[in-house]
Symmetry: C2
Subunit: 332 residues, 2 copies
Amino acid sequence: MVTLKDVAKEAGVTATTASRALRGMDMVTPKTTQKVLAAAEKLGYRMNISAQSLRTGKSGTVTFLTAGIDGAYFSSLAMRFAAELNKQGMHMLIESSQYLVDEHGNEKDMSYLFSDGIIGINAKHASKALASHPSVLLEDYTIDSPYDQVNAPSQAGTRAAIRHLYEKGCRRIGLVGHDIPPESNPGASQQVRMLAAKHECQELGLEFDEHSLISVPWSRAGGVEAGHRWADERLGFDGLFCPSDGLALGVLRGLADRGVNVPKDVAVIGFDGITDGEYSVPTLSTIAVDFTSMTQAAVSLLTHRINHPEEERYPQTVTVGYRLIERESTRR
Amino acid sequence: MVTLKDVAKEAGVTATTASRALRGMDMVTPKTTQKVLAAAEKLGYRMNISAQSLRTGKSGTVTFLTAGIDGAYFSSLAMRFAAELNKQGMHMLIESSQYLVDEHGNEKDMSYLFSDGIIGINAKHASKALASHPSVLLEDYTIDSPYDQVNAPSQAGTRAAIRHLYEKGCRRIGLVGHDIPPESNPGASQQVRMLAAKHECQELGLEFDEHSLISVPWSRAGGVEAGHRWADERLGFDGLFCPSDGLALGVLRGLADRGVNVPKDVAVIGFDGITDGEYSVPTLSTIAVDFTSMTQAAVSLLTHRINHPEEERYPQTVTVGYRLIERESTRR
């Protein structure tokens, strides 16, 4: 039988180089690769497919697929998943989904994505990749999704935030956000949070109409704009609910630009529980999502799918808990 | 000649599944993989190694290797590289290096890391991976490094920051940081910046001794501690240089805790130019690194190494420019 050593000898390279060339791995020059392939063909070499991934059918790698990891929310979430997967003996790669589509709108070849499974958040442009792997989506909220979902407590958390503003004496609560979220951001959870806020206001008997929304982009810059409008247009809200901490931090800066005192003139609460809110001036009250449970639930759902590919299990949805953290921005 | 279709027929699966099983890709169950391998062996099938990566010797993928992407600095840098690589027709994966070592301190198998090259920042625990790929390191500063390096203007930028504080009337300048940086952070650039700050102070004829350093961990929490110590220990600095914006943002919060007015009581300047400094209260003066040049230089160096593997070129070092941005924290 022709061995790898024979191929290497024929090609005039080391066995390691020959193996790498045949597997298409590491740094082998095109010229060397061609030489090794020619030698393998000449000798009738049959690859000894013995890599762990072929023996077990698994690579031990999970892809964290997200439109972008900009900012504290996505990057800290990714690092939590890396830690949890490492605990489970797996390895994580981060893949940004925003470049998965070519100029004609076609999904690019993802054959290099050899992971055992995908954890996706806001992973647009990746339907093929998701469909061809065991996948768990975070913050998706799609009804009848074919994938397991793990969600933040967007409804319960939002209602708690509104009630908190109410208990702090707020009677005209404004919402900061936008009806049509930009592509690059978690639109689904935003919509769920906006609707829940509206319902809770109505339940508390508070005035709530189309003027209760300060419509700005879901970003820090959008938050700054909302803060400016609060002051410049004398909107009169005594409490502001921001469906993300990023937005809320922008609002605090926008209000500071106008010399507005938070929380005396207006109380502000965010949503997520990113660490940035501990360091802002004033510090930010927020609904802190239980990221530990979110990470563990998603990894547990995913590993079950990976280890039981034959099992026909309905998609599961897990919603994790939250903790209301009162800081300076609502302390009055 | 035995074809893939023959193998698929023998194994009772589709040609697509057979191909995936043979390549160890996508979601194929261990059972199916075994069946396909057995069929291939029985029929004497020889893999048609035709994947693009084997024809060209390249996968079109670059790995961004970093200890962690927590926080605004690393995550925004990663996204800039993803954009630049996409422009060059390549694709980026992010790999966290902190889990590359097993419990015995041995580097784990990285054979799945089939990228054409590596862009590494603070990529400890990855010497094998770096050595086996064309690699460019950011912020490394190692003398006689075998790798191309692209660095922030740590010396020139720091001297500009100190001069800025001096021109704003500061005569007792304090440095926030630590001599022995924690594992997970960019120690090299910190050391270069601390040394440059010391030299610039001496050149300006300012008092500078061991008491000029407020020694805290390189993190936002460390910055808060430095702010508290400024007030509680009456350190008397009228200007503070922080070698990272993260540290500086912590300092602003720590000073706010004690009711200190920035910049009236003490001026504060950071280093990096992350967007967070536009949103803090007060907004943060900083040395904004030219990240566009940094990204382009690193990608250009890397693609040259990838495309000319035969070329024996000395390691290159590129240092990019900066812009001093004056904001509220030093505006007086």
